[in-house]
Structures are given as structure tokens and as C-alpha cells.
Amino acid sequence: MPSLHVTKPGGAAGEGVIFSGRNLTKIYRTGELEVRALNGVDLDLFEGEMLVLLGPSGSGKSTLLNILGGLDRPTSGSVIFKGHNLTRLSESELTAYRREHVGFVFQFYNLIPSLTARENVGLVTEIASNPMRPEEALELVGLGPRLNHFPSQLSGGEQQRVAIARAIAKRPEVLLCDEPTGALDSKTGILVLEALVAVNRELATTTAVITHNRAIKDIAQRVAFFADGKIIRVEENERQLDPADIEW
């Protein structure tokens, strides 16, 4: 089994390990049934890298992302984020952790329908310590002209880009994306991926993207392959493809 603690190739800035997960196990018990969603996962994430977690549904990638994002706790094992063990944090410390350090992008956008694009981003900038202006964040994802539209007035791709702007506006250390293109057609999906890549480049935000779409793996620097609650291998892409160049 190849070592998973590989140093990030390419010599980009910020060589340090930002996340360090060791022997992560997650067991869900529903009545009689015991499901091992994670079964001894080790993974490091490096500052500024773009990582794709690839695998079929039910392979454990979302569980891992939820644990990294402070939404869930592992049954055993540890996650160190910049020297802090997330598994030891209290409920309110986890809330503070999400608030300060993590940006989320979800498959179904999870925008607040009663707030405009600008306000959805403002939601986060209001409570962050060093945010960018909402307009700036929306500009980054190419939505400058649609600031005052409500979610119901935006297409799916646009909504997802608002979600990305919302996630990055607080300048998080890490951006976690769970099937960000899962609800979109390929053309719109590419626009969303472009936004993610742009953010990763310009802000050097560590970005982890979950997908079951193999085509997407090519935009990453590293790809972790999931199956049955384990990482079966990690690949490094020699060249990151531009989202416009991939096809699905």
C-alpha cells in the first residue's frame, strides 16, 4: 500500500500539513445494523492544495468530509487541524471552528431563499473576523452583475457559484465541497469548477472536492480513491487540467 503522507508535488507555496487524519473510523448503528462508513482512514491535506476525493456513493468520502468540516465526529481515530485535535472539541468549539476556518459548498447549494446573492454572502461576512466584501467574493465567481437577485431568480449554476462565494468570503483556510456539480449539467458544472479552481489559485485556499465523477479528478493536484470506507490509493496528477478541458 502506497504511503499516503506524500509531500505535495509541484513545490507550491505553503508546504505545511493543514489536516492530518489518522486511523479514522466511523461506525453508524441503525437498530440491528452496523455500517462502517469509514474503516481506518489516514489522510493529510496540505496548505493550498486542490484535492479530489473520488469514489462511488457510500464509499465513505462524505463521511470523511463531514468529519474534517467539524459536522461529525469519528468513532475512533484523530483529526489534527493546525495542531488542534478536532475530535476533542466541544459542540460550541466545533461551531466556532466552522465559523472561522471552513468553507462549505453543498450539492444542493443550501442558499437561504429569502436572502439575495449579496445577502447570502453577507450572512457569512457578518460573523467572520477577516472577510472580503460580499461584492468581491461574488466578483471572484463571476456573479458581479447578479448581486441583488434572490436564489429563485438564479439558475442552478449561478446558485452554486453564490454558494462558493459565500464559502470563500470569510477567507477560510479550507474549502470543502461535497458533489458541487452533482445537481448540474456538464456545461454549468464546468463554470462551477472554474470558479473553484480560480479561488484555489488566487486565494491559495486548501480545497477538497468530493465527487463520483471521474472526469473531475483531472482538475486536482492529488486524487484520493475511495472504496468501502477506505482510501485505496492516492494519485498525483502530473498536470492540472483546466475545467474547460475536461469532459463528461
Partner: protein, 819 residues
């Protein structure tokens, strides 16, 4: 199909179990409506039925008349009046009683019982013992309430001053009478069983004691079915005119009957004002909850349709759900209503003395309550169910169109610039569903209004007591004389021990007529500027009695449609002895009367025309007032009085009472201090019971509305709220989104609650007003504050219950599901 329906029914049962808290909240609101309806109508019917049975079995008379003295031979004449079924002539006299170990004088009403043992009308019910022996001037039967109040038993003795002579009477029997279901002394406002007694004695003995040999001074008449009451009364008045007839009157004007009527009227008012409020709130809650449930089950509905269920089958499923909720409420309401209704009827035993109680459980009221409840529930469900019918299966399987929000014009003006995004979520949510927000506000305000309706009675009664017993009445005691005496009696009264001030009054019974409106009431003659019994105008300022002219209270003015300056026809009742000649009495000169300052002349047969000089405030009874000298000149019967108001030194009270008990001229005595205390005690006991019930009901409504609103909001916004939690908002911040919205609605509901509460209170008061008493509409600021406080507390408790659910939001599930 049979199996298919069973599956839907299974779903129904599971839905009910799953939503139990909301179901219960709605069912309790409905149950409150059913309870108030069953309770008030049940108590009404029981009370009315008991009264009817009692009247019938004990032959309560239809028409009554008092007179000075008439020979018994009039009986044939009166019995011969068309429509008269039975006549009973008797002696009825007031007497002052002296009870051992009880200092205040007791007022007794002494009634005769025929010596042949054949009581034809107003038959007493013998609780224990027997009726007094014929011709015995030493035996008496007493009413049960009085016997209980003083612990009198068969064989007990008490003193009575009968026609100026004190006698020691022995109790032979303890009785109840249909005439004294509500036994209240002359001039009292509430019954005081210690100070008022009904005493039955042999007719022969009383005739002798009161020098009424072969004569009577009171008559009761029973009418035949279909007889003209008006006609009989008119005829009796004609016959008794020359015997000092004080005007015959029907049951409506008989004190005990009238008080029972007032109570029945209140029950009826309650059954009409309260249940509709609860039914409305129920309909609204069902509408809100079902609409949400159907939105959540959209895909299921589509699936049912796709599987081949008819749209009416599915609609029927939801209607059944609503009917099931209603059924739960109805069953609870039936139970509570029956239980409380019986309790209330028992409570009446304390004020109304019946020998037996008939619990009327008319099935129709249960049917009506159930019918109304089911209708309200179905009405509430109508819109939501119509949406089910209209939903096409293909559309239903698609996710619903996301709600459309828009910016508010106020935002464009930058008014909300300083609000946080979390607050904006709450505000836009309210504005996105304005009807629901308005109805929620209305529902909450109804809870507050209910509280105001119950709490304001404390304010009103306190006001009533203040005005009547402190501003207006300032005498310590009122002595009524057995017969009218020369005004010199004032000096005699002044010489009683401890007396500091004496004010005379004369009371005459009249019939007032203004066009088609007429009313029998007393005119009180009193000094021009009384210090003890003062009249207050509607602004509660003391009024001086003009030299001539009439001052009437507001109720009389309303009943007779009188305004300042109007001239009203007054017919003197009760054996007027004055000469029939014109007299000149100074008229009232005033702007409203203009030049109509013509002399007020007395016409033939004691008919006079008098101008209304002023209108005064009064909460009890019906009354008109005149300057005493003017009244005496009008009556032309000499300078006489019928009683005095006294103020006295409390230190000498016992001596004064002893003296009064030994004064034959005094027929009855009223004590203001005792009256106020008794009034307060009685009213407050009633109100406290009522307020406790109402507060419970209001809390049910407040909780029902707020809890359901919160649950529905949580269901609609759960995903948003969970998303916020994921984004790093704390539980408290996320809860705030929900609570700001709820809080705004609850706060907006307060002023509305105050207005509605005032309105309902006004309605109630209108419903309660009678010739016996009127409750002024007074709502203190503290009442509004208390009502709001209770509603806000209910809101906070509901919020805390829902907060627990916000804390348990599943953060991960929300990321994986679309709306």
C-alpha cells in the same frame, strides 16, 4: 379497494401519532370551545329546567301586587278576571329581627300562610320540621339560608318586632320557596343570609298582629295558559287602585326571578361570545398545519395518484385526518364541559336556593357542539384539501417551485440597512406569507383578548364599588320606616345614640311613561345637596337636585329614551292620597329646556308631567330622584319621609343597634359597610373562578397558536436553519431567526389584543346589563399589561419547547437532501 383504504387509514393513524404534539395543541383549542359551549349551555339548561320544575311543582305565581289594605272579598272579583287561574291573598310585612349573639338588626319579610293548610301559590318546600300552627302568634317557619347562617334549628327561638311589639318566635320549620330562590334583602345588592330572613306565620295570627282582620296587603295570581298578562295586570291595578295598590308586576320584575334571569342571561352571553373565538382559532390552526403537511407530502400524494388512487380518495384521507383531530377535541370538550357544567350548577346552589337540581343533558347541545366543531375543522381544511385535489401527479413528483421572495419597498429606501442578514431572513419570511403572519397575529391577539375579557371584571367591579359605595353612598346605615312619617322623624333619628348626621328621603313608586316606553320604578325625594347619599353625573361629579324637575339615572334614560329637557309622564302608584288639583312646582330652567319653564301641573288621578333636569350615573337598580320638598308638594300628602340615611360613630354602634331593634317605626335597616364587604366577597369569588378558567383557556389558545406556528416554521425553514448551523452559526443565533419572526408577530399581536379585548369586554357588558345592575366598562392599564405578560410567557414557553428541536437539527442530512 378495501385493502387500499385500510393502508391509507394506517398512514392516518401513524400521522396522528407522529404529529401528536401539534394534534394535541389543536385539539385542546377546539376542546376549549366545546367546553365553554357545553358548560354554559349545559348550566343554562340545568338552571332553567330546575327553575321551571320548581316553579311548576311549587306553583310559583305569575303576577304579584302589593297594596295598603283591601278586604278579602276582592278575591272573587280578582279570580273572575279573564285569564286568572288562581289567587292567593296574604299578609306581607317587613320586620326587624333580633337574633341572639348577633348585634346588627336583621331585616325580616313576614309572610302569611293560610290557616286551612291549603297554600295555593308560592308553596314552600319543607326542608325540615312543619309549618306553623294555625292562629299561632308564637310559631314561625324560616328560610333555610337564614337558618343555616345563624345555626337555627327546629325549636330555636328569635325575637321579632311585629307591628311595634317584640315577640319571641319559635322555629317550627325550615323552608325553601320558589319566591326566594335568590333571597335578597331590601336595598341589598347581593344576598346576606345573616341579615335577611323570610318568615312564614299563620295568616290568622298575622292579620291580628297587623290589624288586618279580614283583609290582606299582598296578592299573588297564577295565569291560565294563553292569558294576557298585560290585561290581567291592568285589571288588577284598576281593582286595587283605591286600596293603595302599588302596581301589579309580572315575574320579570320579581326580585328573585329577575336575578336568576340575569344569571341565565350571562350564561347565554358566554355561550355566544366564547365558543366562536375558539372555533375560529381551530379552523386557522388546522388550515396552517394541514397546508404544511400537504406540502411535505406532496411527493407521496403524487405517488398515490400515480398508483391509481382517486383524487377524492386522497382528499378524503386528509379530511379524515382533520376530523380525527376534531374528534379528539370534541371528546375532551364533552368530558370537561359536562364536568365543569355540573360543577357550575352545583356552585349555583350557593347563591340560588333550590330544593333539588335537575341536570339537563340535552343531547342536542352535544350534537350542536360536535357539528360546529367538525364544520370549523373542515372549513379550516378546505383550502389545503382543494390543493390536493388540484395537484397533478406529474407536478407533484417534482420538487416544488422554490418560494419567491422580493425586496420590500422599505428596503429600497434603506430602512432595513442596519439589520443583520439573520434578521432579514425573519422579516422577509413574514412578508412572504402575509396572510399567515396576519392570522397568527390575530390568533395570538385573541388569546390576549380572552385574558382582558376575564381580568377587566376586577377593574370594573372595583370602579363600581368606588363610585357606588364611596363616591355616592357615604351613609353608614339606611333606616326604612314601616309607614311614612312626618319629617319631624329626622330629629328623632338624630337623637339615636352615636348618630352624627341624618338625611331624610322619601321613596314613592311610580310608573313612568314616555310615548310607547314605560317602566315602574321608585322616585327618591332627597335634600337638594345631599352629603350622605350623593348623586353623581356621568363625569362622576356630585349633582345638586334642582328645585323642580326630575333627575333620572342613565339606565332609565336609555330605557325610556329620555334626554335632558324631555318631559315624562309619571303615574303615582301605591295609594296616592293627595287631592286632585293643579299645583305649581318650579320648573327647571335651563338651556336645553328653553322657555318651557312652564309650571309642571298635576293632572287627574295622580298623573303628572315632569321635565328631566339631569341624568346621573348609577350601576344598580333603576331610580329617579327629586328634590324632597318638591316631591312632597307634588304628592300633596304633607311633609313626610319614608326613611333616613345615617352616619354614626362606630364606637356606639352596639348601642345604636339595640335602640333601632327597639324602635317599632323602623321596618328595615341597610348597612353600607356590610353591603360592600358582602358584595366584594360574592363578586370576587365568582370572578376568581371565572378568571382561573379563562386564563387556562387563554393559555391553551396562546400555546396552541404559537407552538403550531413555530413548528410549521421549523418544518419549512429547518433546512435553512441547519445550513446556517453548518456555516458556523451557533444554536442561539439560528434559533433567533425563528424567534425574531415569532417575537415580532407576538408583539404585533399585543395592541390588537388590547383593542379586541376592549371590544369583547364591551360586548360582554352589553350582554350582562340588566335593570338590576350594570357593569361599567373599565379596563386598567395593569389589566392590559397582565394579559400581555401571560401571552408573552406562553410564547416563551412555546419557543423553548421548539428550541429543543432546533438544537437537535440534523446537520448532515440537510446537506444530502434537496428541498
Amino acid at each position: 379497494m378495501v385493502i387500499a383504504m385500510r393502508m391509507l387509514d394506517k398512514k392516518l393513524v401513524r400521522d396522528l401519532v407522529r404529529m401528536w404534539a401539534q394534534v394535541l395543541a389543536i385539539a385542546l383549542v377546539l376542546a376549549s370551545g366545546v367546553t365553554t359551549l357545553v358548560l354554559s349551555v349545559g348550566a343554562y339548561q340545568s338552571l332553567e329546567e330546575t327553575r321551571r320544575a320548581y316553579y311548576e311543582r311549587y306553583r310559583f305565581a305569575d303576577v304579584f301586587a302589593n297594596l295598603t289594605r283591601a278586604p278579602k272579598r276582592l278575591e272573587t272579583q280578582i279570580a273572575g278576571i279573564e285569564g286568572v287561574g288562581a289567587v292567593e291573598m296574604r299578609v306581607a310585612k317587613a320586620a326587624v329581627l333580633d337574633i341572639a349573639d348577633f348585634s346588627p338588626p336583621v331585616t325580616g319579610l313576614v309572610l302569611s300562610l293560610p290557616d286551612d293548610g291549603q297554600v295555593r301559590l308560592n308553596r314552600p318546600y319543607i326542608r325540615s320540621g312543619r309549618l306553623p300552627e294555625a292562629q299561632s302568634s308564637l310559631e314561625a317557619a324560616v328560610n333555610e339560608a337564614f337558618a343555616k347562617a345563624h345555626g337555627l334549628k327546629i325549636g330555636s327561638q328569635f325575637g321579632a318586632i311585629l307591628n311595634g311589639r317584640k315577640r319571641q318566635l319559635t322555629v317550627t320549620g325550615i323552608l325553601l320557596s320558589p319566591e326566594f330562590i335568590y333571597a335578597i334583602g331590601p336595598g341589598d345588592l347581593v344576598p346576606d343570609d345573616k341579615r335577611f330572613a323570610v318568615i312564614w306565620m299563620s295568616q290568622g295570627a298575622l292579620e291580628e298582629i297587623f290589624d288586618l282582620d279580614g283583609a290582606f296587603n299582598s296578592i299573588s295570581v297564577q295565569l291560565l295558559l294563553g292569558a294576557s298578562q298585560e290585561g290581567v295586570i291592568e285589571r288588577i291595578d284598576q281593582i286595587l287602585k283605591r286600596y293603595g295598590g302599588a302596581g301589579a308586576f309580572a315575574r320579570e320584575d320579581q326580585t328573585s326571578h329577575a336575578f336568576l334571569d340575569a344569571e341565565l342571561q350571562q350564561l347565554r352571553a358566554m355561550s355566544r361570545v366564547l365558543p366562536p373565538i375558539f372555533l375560529f382559532v381551530t379552523a386557522f390552526l388546522i388550515n396552517m398545519t394541514l397546508t404544511r403537511l400537504i406540502a411535505l407530502e406532496r411527493e407521496q400524494i403524487g405517488l398515490f395518484k400515480a398508483l391509481g388512487y382517486g383524487r377524492y380518495e386522497i382528499a378524503g384521507h386528509y379530511v379524515k385526518l382533520v376530523l380525527a383531530i376534531a374528534a379528539i377535541g370534541i371528546v375532551i370538550g364533552f368530558g370537561l364541559g359536562t364536568y365543569f357544567g355540573q360543577g357550575l350548577t352545583w356552585l349555583y346552589q350557593e347563591f340560588f336556593h333550590f330544593p333539588f337540581l335537575v341536570f339537563r343533558r340535552d343531547p342536542s347541545i352535544y350534537l350542536i357542539a360536535a357539528g360546529l366543531s367538525f364544520s370549523a375543522a373542515v372549513l379550516g381544511a378546505l383550502r389545503a384539501v382543494a390543493a390536493v385535489v388540484a395537484l397533478s401527479p406529474a407536478v407533484a413528483m417534482q420538487p416544488p417551485v422554490p418560494p419567491r421572495y422580493r425586496q420590500l419597498w422599505t428596503e429600497r429606501l434603506g430602512l432595513f440597512r442596519h439589520f443583520s442578514q439573520l434578521t432579514m431572513i425573519s422579516l422577509r419570511h413574514i412578508i412572504r406569507w402575509p396572510v399567515r403572519a396576519a392570522l397568527t397575529t390575530l390568533g395570538v391577539s385573541l388569546a390576549g383578548a380572552l385574558l382582558i375579557v376575564s381580568l377587566f371584571s376586577f377593574d370594573s367591579v372595583e370602579h363600581m364599588i368606588d363610585v357606588s359605595f364611596f363616591l355616592s353612598q357615604r351613609q353608614d346605615a339606611t333606616l326604612s320606616l314601616a309607614d311614612e312619617r312626618h319629617v319631624r322623624a329626622v330629629q328623632a333619628a338624630g337623637n339615636l345614640p352615636g348618630v352624627m348626621r341624618v338625611e331624610p328621603f322619601r321613596s314613592i313608586l311610580v310608573r313612568m311613561r314616555n310615548g310607547q316606553y314605560e317602566k315602574k320604578l321608585p322616585i327618591q325625594g332627597m335634600p337638594a345637596d345631599p352629603a350622605l347619599l350623593r348623586l353623581m353625573d356621568t363625569a362622576l361629579q356630585p349633582v345638586s337636585l334642582p328645585e323642580g324637575g326630575l333627575v333620572v339615572d342613565k339606565r332609565v334614560a336609555e330605557l325610556l329614551h329620555l334626554r335632558l329637557g324631555d318631559v315624562v309622564e309619571v303615574e303615582i302608584l301605591g295609594g296616592w292620597r293627595g287631592a286632585e288639583r293643579a299645583v305649581e312646582i318650579p320648573g327647571v330652567r335651563g338651556a336645553n329646556i328653553g322657555d318651557a319653564a312652564k309650571p309642571l301641573a298635576r293632572g287627574p288621578r295622580g298623573l303628572v308631567n315632569v321635565a328631566v333636569a339631569d341624568i346621573v350615573e348609577s350601576y344598580f337598580g333603576l331610580s329617579a330622584y327629586m328634590n324632597l320638598p318638591a316631591l312632597n308638594r307634588l304628592m300633596d300628602e304633607g311633609n313626610v319621609i319614608s326613611g333616613v340615611h345615617l352616619s354614626y360613630d362606630k364606637a356606639q354602634e352596639n348601642a345604636l343597634f339595640e335602640k333601632i331593634k327597639a324602635t317599632p317605626a323602623v321596618a328595615s335597616i341597610g348597612l353600607r359597610g356590610v353591603s360592600v364587604a358582602k358584595f366584594r366577597e360574592t363578586i370576587e369569588k365568582n370572578i376568581t373562578t371565572m378568571v382561573t378558567i379563562y386564563v387556562g383557556l387563554a393559555v391553551v389558545v396562546a400555546f396552541g397558536v404559537i407552538y403550531n406556528s413555530a413548528r410549521i416554521q421549523l418544518s419549512e425553514q429547518g433546512r435553512e436553519l441547519a445550513s446556517l448551523r453548518v456555516l458556523g452559526f451557533t444554536k442561539a443565533e439560528v434559533s433567533r431567526v425563528l424567534f425574531v419572526e415569532l417575537g415580532l408577530l407576538v408583539i404585533a399581536a399585543q395592541p390588537l389584543a388590547w383593542v379586541l379585548g376592549y371590544g369583547f369586554a364591551w360586548l360582554m357588558i352589553k350582554g350582562f346589563a340588566s335593570d338590576l345592575y350594570r357593569i361599567p366598562l373599565v379596563v386598567n392599564a395593569s389589566t392590559y399589561a397582565w394579559a400581555s405578560l401571560v401571552v408573552l410567557s406562553s410564547a416563551i414557553v412555546s419557543a423553548l419547547v421548539v428550541r429543543r428541536r432546533i438544537d437537535q437539527l440534523d446537520l448532515i442530512a440537510v446537506l444530502k437532501t434537496r428541498e
